[in-house]
Structures are given as C-alpha cells and as structure tokens.
Symmetry: C2
C-alpha cells in the first residue's frame, strides 16, 4: 500500500502535501510559522476536517516555537493569538476548534512547567492528535467494512480520504478496508464542484491504490442510482450535531435525499473529533460561504458573466433521519443518535 | 428586449451564434455546407433540442443548394445522405429527427416539381420550422406564465432559453413571460456541469435581459430548496415519451426527485416537436454518452487523473410521475400524460 501523508512533522517544521496541485503534481511545502499554516488551511493546501484539525495542532506547536516569550504568561498570550488566527480560517469543520482547544488545554495545564517544556508538550500533543486520527481511521475502516456487501458499488462525494485526514481516510478508510477484504466492485466518484475534490483527490487516491472506480459529474449520481448501480453511499463529515445532523461538503444533502428515494443506504464515516455535542441540531452549524470566483470560473477560465451574482455555500446539512448509520472509531452508531 | 438569434438564415447561408464562445465573446459563424452544420451540432456550437432541429432543417436546405443533381432522384439521394449525416450527430433530442423527417417529406411530396423548386421549398420549410418554433415558444411562455406565482423564485437547469431554440426559449420562455408580467423575484441558475450551459448561457441570457438571478453549483440546488427558497423548478426537454417521461440534460432527474422531496412543483416546458409519441416510455429514449475529457478536465485544465475511467451521460430521464405539468404551445398538460 502506498502511504499518503498529507500532514507530517519533519524535525523543526511542518510539511503539507499541496492538495491544490493534485493530481497534476505532488508538491510538498514546508511551514515554520503558524500564520502560514493558517493561510494553507484557508487556501485549501490542506483540507478535510480531520486534516485541518491535525494541521492546526501543529500550527500551535509552531506558534510555541516561534514565540520569543520568556514567561509562561507571555507564551500563553502568543498561543492565544495563534489559536484565534487559526480558528478564523474556516468556520464549519469542528475538528479545527476541537484540536485548538485540546492543545490550548495542554498549555494551560502545564502552567507550572518551563517555557521550553511547554513547547515540547505542544509538539507531542500535535503528534498525538495525528497518531490518534490515523488509529481512528483504521478502526472506523474496520467497523465500516462490515457494512459493505460483497461486490459493492459504493458512491462517495468530495474527498474523505487519506488526504482529508492524517492518512487512510474516513469514508475512503471504509472503502480501503472493504477493498482489502475484496468486497469493492466499483467506487463511483462524484467530481464535487466547485473545487473538484472528487476528481482531483479521490480519483487520484483510487488510482494510487488501484481501487476500481468511475468518475461522474455530480449531476449524474441520481441517474446512476436509478439504474440500480449503487449499493451504498458513504461520505465524510465536517461537523456532526448531538442529534446526528451532519454538515459535509455541499451536495451531500442532495445525495442523501436521492439515496432515500432509491432505497440506497446512506452512511457517514467520521471520528469522534468531528462530533460537536454542544450543538443540539444541524440548524446551529455555521456554513462557510466561499468566493464567487470558484463558481464563476472553471479552472483558469471565466465561464459565467462577471455580472452574475453567485451563491457558493461550501457545506450543507444532512438531517439525521436520512443517515442509516454513523461509522466511528468506537463502532457503528445507529439512529436515534444522541451524542 | 434584446433579440438573441442563435440560428438565422442570411441570403445564401446559415449563421450560427457560436455558443462555445459565450459568455466571453459573441461570435457568429457562417455555414454553406450541411457537413459543417453537422459538425456545429456535434461540437455544441448550436445546442438545445429545438435549435438543433431548426439548424438541421437549414442544413437540409444547404444540402439541396450544394447538390449538383439535375434530376429529382439524384437530389433525393443527396438529401438522404445529408439527412443521415445530420441525424448521426446527437441521438437524444428528438427535434433533430422530427425536423429532418419534415423536410424530407416536403422533398418527397414535391417529386413532380423541378430541382430548383425543391431547393426553394426546402429553404421555405426550414424558415417555417424556425418561425413556428419562435411562435411556439411565445405561446408556451404565455401558458407557463400563468403557473408562476407572484414574487416567484424559480430554479432552472441547463439552458432552455433563446439560445436553445429559434429564440425566446422554453423554460426561459416561461421565465421571460413571467418576468414581463413582473412575477419573477429570482431565478436560481444551476451551472450545469460538465458543459456549463447554466453559467455560460442561461446566466448570460439573464444578464442580457436584466432578470434577477443567482448562479449556483448544481450540488447546491437541494440546499436552496431545503432553505425554502425555491417556489418552482422549470426545465426544458430533449425528448418526451408518450407517457410523459422526459429526457433532458443530466441532473434534471435529480432536481425532480429533490423537488418532490421538498414539495416544490417541477415543470417541463417544451414544444410539441419535442414529444415522441412513438416511444411508450422513457426507458426507450437513447441517451448520448459524451467524451470523458469533458469530465476529466475543467476548462483547459486537467483535473482528474488520466487513468480514471469516466461515465458521462449527457441526459437523464425524469419519470412522468415527478412532473407536475408539461407546458406546451397548445396549453398546460397535466398528468396522466398520453401523447
């Protein structure tokens, strides 16, 4: 198996695989400042809820290294600024806030240590978040693979793969685990306009791993279901409310409605770090709206009149009633969901 | 009102507005050979079921002009070749075959005329098809406008506009007529991957006419409906079977399912030339599959691995049970449909 590492630490800096360049080229970039990590998250060099969380944790470790603070209070002030800056990049994926909180709590708890110790602890914590995410993906992959029938034709949207996590993936983690067990006949890959994470990232992962797949325009998913050629749909998640309502890439909700219409089970795969029990329902999940330019142009080419207003929400919310199960590292959770 | 003329005759040649160049530039091209008209249909210089039919009729008129036949039999042989060549361009839109049949019947019926007379008759017939399409659009626009509530927020897919017809449009004909009556609050324009007829053509028509609109990625349509911001969906059609099942641009079927789920009425607008009573149901409608390159690249830029197989159906079939009404030039037809 090829190892895909979207986020890794190398000696004294963070290395991100530049996902905006895939599948044309595999370029890695080095990060030594938290501000640059924030920019990488904002510009989608790294994306996917768990991968954003891991990157933000390393961003905090970098902030601690960069800081010239000589007292704990000064260091905590600097960390606070970094945390705010990293948190301001993208509003929907809760893993970002979860990872920032976790790292900040470690710093707070170490108030009686030396500045040098805290720096080391934050880096260790970021490594722990990365390792735990990888382990969670493997575990949820194993749980999810049990839901996959033989000769399964699985449809997925966006990229909830190795590239969206510390490696291995959530929705694609389930697909990888099922593929290792010889159960996958075909993966239908939604191209996922406007940012094309399906074409650029998921199809690339499928090629790298030799998993049989077929790329479709998002608008063809309903047709493929109507032809009886989809046995299950699996997507990742950016935030799951206490009642199971799930925010994920725009288009996920439509897929869930289409799946219900065709009696195809619709699954969400996500680690517990994606669950936000503080929100009662999906109505409270903030939905990021991205730049009109993503929709007005196709690649480098303008396709719509500049005078045309655009609505470009990056995510939508799928109500829990449309979700057959949520696949987590602790097992498969069935409705009614109570997180 | 600006007049948009996608297809027009000028003295001794056909003029097509090159729709592959919109919205960046308004370029017209001249056609003097039926083979070049066939190529224009194949490469989407002209597209939209009614506009394809009108163009093919003029293609036959050009074939008659080009022909060096001195006898009726030789002319009919040449026309037969042209008809076969034009028919082989795109399989789904029935208006193409309807227009070719109609022109061929005129030639057959004129067997006792001179070759010069037949040439003239074919050109007149092509003009008649164009004029009738324009009149049909106006009439169906009037009928359809009555279905549009005040302050309507209407979602449409692909381009069933002036550009898809002899002018005015089918789905956009209804929207134009409703706009003339002050009923349109907003048109949601689906961008319509992979060929982007929504962004490139429908948004351009909305700008040209000053109709309030907002462009969305196709994947956002479900979300916009869930927010309660769509009062009706209207699309065109490429072929309607005797039972009302309707082939239209890929993604139309998903919209119809989503509309049903959100209790939003889903309408089809099309002239009778789009109805194919020879087919009992939509299952018999041939669906064109287009080149993988349309999906593997975005504009000029490759977005998916070349190794990724693609499924790229250009159309899908919406079952009659999901269609609230079919708006034609003879009136609004309600289910059960029996054409």
């Amino acid at each position: 198996m090829t190892v895909i590492e979207p986020v890794r630490w190398s000696g004294d800096h963070l290395v991100l695989l530049d996902q905006t360049r895939l599948p044309r080229e595999e370029t890695s970039r080095e990060y030594r400042k938290w501000e640059d990590v924030a920019e990488a998250i904002r510009t989608l060099v790294v994306r996917g809820a768990p991968a954003i969380g891991v990157s933000a944790a390393f961003g905090m470790a970098l902030a601690a290294r960069e800081s010239r603070a000589e007292t704990i209070d000064d260091l905590l002030t600097d960390l606070d600024a970094a945390s705010k800056g990293l948190a301001a990049t993208r509003p929907t994926a809760v893993n970002l806030f979860w990872a920032l909180d976790r790292v900040r709590r470690v710093a707070e708890a170490a108030r009686d240590q030396s500045v040098a110790d805290i720096r080391q602890r934050l880096l260790s914590e970021a490594h722990a978040i990365l390792d735990e995410d990888l382990a969670a993906n493997r575990a949820l992959g194993d749980h999810g693979a049990m839901l996959v029938p033989s000769h399964a034709r699985i449809l997925t949207h966006c990229n909830a793969g190795a590239l969206a996590t510390a490696g291995y993936g959530t929705a694609l983690g389930v697909i990888r685990a099922a593929h290792e067990r010889g159960k996958v006949a075909l993966v239908w890959v939604d191209e996922t306009r406007p940012v094309m994470q399906g074409s650029r990232l998921t199809a690339w992962e499928m090629v790298v791993e030799g998993i049989p797949h077929r790329l479709i325009p998002d608008v063809a998913a309903g047709s493929v279901m109507a032809r009886g050629e989809v046995d299950m749909v699996i997507t990742g998640a950016d935030r799951i409310a206490a009642n199971g309502d799930t925010a994920n890439k725009i288009g996920t909700y439509s897929l869930a409605v289409l799946a219900a219409h065709h009696r195809v089970p619709f699954y969400v795969a996500a680690p517990f770090s994606t669950i936000d029990p503080s929100l009662a329902s999906g109505a409270q999940i903030p939905i990021e709206e991205r730049d009109a330019a993503e929709v007005r142009r196709v690649g480098a080419q303008q396709t719509a009149p500049s005078a045309s207003p655009v609505f470009n929400p990056a995510f939508d919310v799928t109500p829990a009633r449309l979700i057959a199960a949520i696949i987590t590292e602790r097992g498969v959770v069935r409705p009614p969901y109570r997180f």
